[in-house]
Symmetry: D2
Subunit: 268 residues, 4 copies
């Protein structure tokens, strides 16, 4: 099957390019499933039920999140009842929502999406490695799950690569989010798992990780709080990776980056 | 002029691919200047005088470093007398070595290399922004310096992008290192500065940031110290960015990534 | 001379005990000077002009701060014109306010207060060691300054002790703040500088660092944002250190902790 | 019963004062049980089987550790077979050794020692709160356990206080370690649990957390690696807390700090 995963959507610029391009990509690339990371969709901080609805209407099947999952408090009741919106699986027991979900495509394929968060330079959640293990124990790749996608939301490249190797051969793809910059290291690991350290942000790259650059730069230069951060409003780039796999093994046969619109070098 | 900057060289795999490819790239691309980040060249930790010599013999003009600059203690006297080996400029006064240097190319162009380190999730060095400012005050871009290259060695994409925007229009290129993963965001900022968040490591990518994956993964999974980390020994990928500029303005006219050999998708 | 330094005032419980006890302590102990750290005086976050006025009315000569200096935005114009309110000296140039000030006591003694912030596990300000050096260069201890007090606002005991030893013999006292817990290590360093790693918070200790314990504990247990933090409202403890010194040398002759009111073991 | 807990023993100075004073304290105070944190006993880094033997010979019943547990690799087989040496309970499953143990005193009282590590500004272990919960589920305080002692090894005062309140009424004492500085906040929480944020180090306080001050200060001032850290060799201070409890309820009736020898103000 063919799966697209778009990285952190930041504000209106990110939402616009995703809503514009996903329907076309679904059609032209023959995609079976589309997941996006939506943790910054609402003005850079969190996501709302309304935005989830707009993304689903545009053809997004599953929305993952990360450390910004809870920035909009209204999402807490929503995430507790809509399993198409995930939060990292390694939040402690009792956290609202789900960290993984099994979806069925129009062609009847079964795909599991697992959202997991790293810990280095981030909040101390539960162990991401055991979190993934526990979820993987529920499925047989190539049989009860035709595709398993792991969104590894993390800061340190070392930890994201470690999650990749740890899952190699056991999932179809480990694709990263959170850094808001696409990496150029998409390849298929020796065990058959597609890997890319970060698929990059969907948003305006003439910015600091999607936020207006003037105030964001000043945060580093001056240490006194300045203007509130707000999303940059120039044309957004959709950043994603597309993975092709063999439904009978669940392993990847190809992975490549997508970059459409905005400032970055284009790739399709 | 045309300048190549290769990211963190990790161990033998990284040295081999750099020593093999740089002479050819100099010739085929018509490069005027080659800089590399060498902070992990010596078995993953630091660099030695012998390795500096080998890199210079292969056509490397300038070697930058970062947080691993001092891992090999023998480098301290060396760095104090050879200005072709830099350490980040924002180490406190009294630190051996230099954080920037002016070079002259075979065609007589003047190029300044500035090595600077970020602070977010890293050691608390002096302010990188003021460090760069102080150095830039010595030159006039397009006149006393035909090209100014900033190696921004940092963990957080937000801080590296902030250095990029902060320098935009004042230097020819801001190219990142330290994450050991190439990013796909090379573009020319509005003011004319070429930018890429990280040029990526030169080393074996079937690894965790260049080190053997088994023991590196175990460091995250188990919390008891295990095997010593050692560089992965598979075929290395040279990861770099090449920047073209107008000597009269010092601003960039083109920037693109290079990836040669090893596991990653190739780019030239 | 005899100097009292009270640690971080947290909310009303902290303000009440300071305002109640300082007048009595000034009188009964024969204090020449009183400094307090006020960074959490305004409902746990920052300080206001009104609170500064109340503290001065109670006999506080100087108010220091720390990482919470700017939590109340209204303080920015105030701190820029009243040198009795300090912010850490190692904020970058251009930061509103002052990091040190020279005061004169009723008996004509000259006392310098220096507020400095550590960097380990905190924001990357300028070098605290060079920051203190630059200020100390302006005075001769025992002559142009009869007393020099350093409020070292920091997280790591190692860095605070390092500031103590670094200043030993050059200042009258290095007294810590920020941890909100009094330490029992007051002693006079070999060079004659009084030292205590942290003088402790002024506030309700049946709390988590002065804030209501139920919601503060939940922040560690659950990782989803819960109730807003608010100061605990039980009876506060005034925590401080009192230093006696020889005006002709500026060195300390005695240092002891003060703990009055509230939950902690009392000391006077 | 009456229980003594001594904080992190650093090097020879710490071992000497513990070995000298513990036999006398056992006798004079009528102690039923003595625990120490030994994570820095071996030249500042870890502990050895030989040192464990010496401590037991001096009357130490239980040795806890923390982030330095594994610094001496030889301890791994030892800790796996001697339950008198603990490591934090919230290491992941499969870690050698135990995080808690039930001891019986000479008078037949049952005492459980739980060693737990915080996560803020430290390594990302498993959840300390759930780690303690799981252990507490095995015992009934005042019945199957007459005393439960929690050594909370942590950096941030907020997290240590949170562990205290979380355990209040369920254990006899929560006593902190790791900061290497004794705090002056020993009190009995509302539920009956004795609490002190840190009992302090056993070692030479004319130092930086027990290590020679010259080289330790230079680590903060210069950023280039200097001399190896080594324990300070002056006279050590034993720092501890002594807790008295009611065997039938397991709750604390008194808690006070002990400081003997060396530089700090004495307390007995
Ligand atoms: Fe994120
Ligand atoms: Fe994000
Ligand atoms: Fe680095
Ligand atoms: Fe590196
Ligand atoms: Fe603070
Ligand atoms: Fe504070
Ligand atoms: Fe420790
Ligand atoms: Fe320790």
């Amino acid at each position: 099957m063919k799966v697209l995963f778009c990285g952190d959507i930041v504000g209106r610029a990110g939402r616009d390019v995703v809503i514009k391009e996903v329907p076309r990509l679904r059609r032209e690339l023959g995609l079976d499933f589309v997941a996006v990371n939506g943790e910054n969709a609402a003005a850079g901080f969190g996501i709302t039920a309304k935005i989830c609805g707009e993304l689903h209407a545009a053809g997004v099947d599953c929305i993952t999140t990360g450390n910004h999952a809870w920035d909009q408090r209204e999402i807490i009741p929503y995430i507790a009842q809509d399993k198409r919106l995930l939060r990292p699986i390694n939040f402690p027991p009792g956290t609202p929502g789900w960290g993984a979900n099994l979806f069925q495509t129009a062609r009847g394929q079964k795909i599991v999406v697992i959202n997991v968060m790293c810990r280095l330079f981030m909040d101390a959640l539960d162990d991401p490695f055991r979190g993934v293990d526990a979820e993987l124990a529920k499925y047989t790749l190539g049989s009860t799950a035709n595709f398993i996608l792991v969104d590894v939301h993390g800061e340190a490249t070392s930890e994201k690569q470690s999650v990749g190797h740890y899952c190699d051969g056991r999932v179809s793809a480990v694709l990263g989010s959170h850094s808001h910059v696409p990496t150029a290291d998409s390849w298929i690991l020796p065990g058959g798992t597609a890997y890319q350290t970060d698929v990059g942000m969907c948003g305006d790259y003439d910015s600091v990780i999607g936020m207006k650059k003037e105030s964001a730069v000043q945060r580093f230069v001056r240490k006194v709080p300045g203007e509130r951060l707000a999303p940059a409003e120039g044309e957004g780039t959709l950043c994603a990776a597309v993975v092709e796999s063999d439904d009978r093994t669940g392993l990847a046969t190809a992975v490549r980056p997508i970059r459409l619109g905005g400032r970055l070098p284009q790739a399709l």
